[in-house]
């Protein structure tokens, strides 16, 4: 087994993604957790590039690191905190969380291990972004159009929720 530059980058990026996800869970400050999540998502984008899905990587950066991170940042600033109070997870729920994480990991690893032969046989063809566009608008057209309805639901839901809180808060941002 020889080490190529690609493998070294893969290992580094994977390790960073791992560390990022650990810190996302372990950070005592909400903002730190969000930023670590950003690191993990960004590293995942690099993994996508290495797996031959560059468009997905771009979209990952645009939507997840750019968009969802922004969304979470705004979300964090909506939370009510008194000054510098820290996040604490209670002991039993932490243990339960670790157990669930391990279980999910076991299922995923087991699946990959069992299906390793099939995975090696079927090399994923690099079909490119154009193929994605063609199949979205022909074969998966119904799903594609249904997606817009989903996005619409999200929009209207957000507006309704934001407006419902209006009466009990002044228009200026209020200090907690």
């Amino acid at each position: 087994m020889t080490f190529t530059a690609t493998m070294i980058v893969f290992a580094l990026v994977g390790a960073l993604a791992f560390v990022g996800s650990i810190f996302t869970v372990r950070s005592s400050k909400l903002v730190h957790a969000v930023l670590w999540l950003g690191v993990t998502l960004g590293m995942t984008a690099i993994l996508f590039v290495q797996l031959g899905a560059p468009f997905l990587a771009g979209i990952q950066l645009l939507l997840y690191v750019g968009g969802v991170m922004t969304l979470m940042i705004f979300g964090v600033l909506l939370t009510k905190r008194d000054g510098d109070s820290e996040l604490k997870t209670e002991e039993p729920s932490r243990e339960r969380g670790a157990l669930i994480a391990l279980a999910v990991f076991a299922v995923l690893a087991g699946t990959i291990w069992l299906g390793r032969d099939a995975l090696q046989r079927t090399a994923v063809p690099s079909l490119g972004t154009g193929w994605l566009g063609t199949s979205l608008l022909t074969r998966h057209l119904v799903a594609f159009e249904a997606l817009s309805a989903l996005l619409l639901a999200a929009m209207i839901g957000a507006i309704v929720i934001a407006r419902r809180r209006d009466p009990d808060q002044p228009s200026e941002p209020k200090e907690s």
Binding site: V9, V49, P54, F55, I59, L62, L63, G66, G67, V68, T70, L71, I73, F74, G75, L77, L78, T79, K80, R81, G83, D84, T129, G130, L132, G133, T134, L136, L137, T138, L141, F144, E145, L147, S148, A149, L151, L152, A154, M155, I156, A158, I159, I161, A162, R163, R165, Q169, S171, P173, K174, E175, S176
Partner: protein
């Protein structure tokens, strides 16, 4: 793939350059003879800083971010269509118009409710 190698190399080069500037700033920085706690106060026009700066914001601002994500998702779906636009023809265009139209309903609703105002 070679383009990505180039991007990676560029990343390394820019990290080295920015790191060099940081190192230069670290080496050349002036150290104050006395450290005053006043110097480390948050700037509030010369007043004592009052209360924490990490305040709560109105949920209205969250809506703006959500709209961004939703429209970005829409735009992300435009890209694969855009590079096959000529081949997909009027049928593809029609599907995209429907897709956009549904989202524009949400947009119009938001405008009518004044959800995208920043005050």
């Amino acid at each position: 793939m070679s383009g990505w190698t180039g991007l990676f190399v560029f990343l390394v080069v820019s990290v080295v350059m920015i790191g060099g500037l940081l190192a230069a700033a670290w080496m050349l920085r002036v150290k104050a003879r006395r450290d005053s706690p006043l110097k480390r106060h948050a700037y509030e026009c010369g007043e004592e800083p009052d209360g924490p700066a990490w305040i709560r914001f109105h949920p209205r601002y969250y809506v703006v971010a959500l709209f961004f994500v939703l429209f970005d998702v829409e735009a992300a779906f435009f890209f694969p269509w855009a590079i096959r636009e000529r081949a997909l023809g009027w049928a593809g265009l029609g599907s995209i118009v429907v897709f956009t139209g549904v989202l524009l309903v949400g947009w119009a609703y938001a405008l009518r409710k004044g959800a995208l105002k920043w005050q």
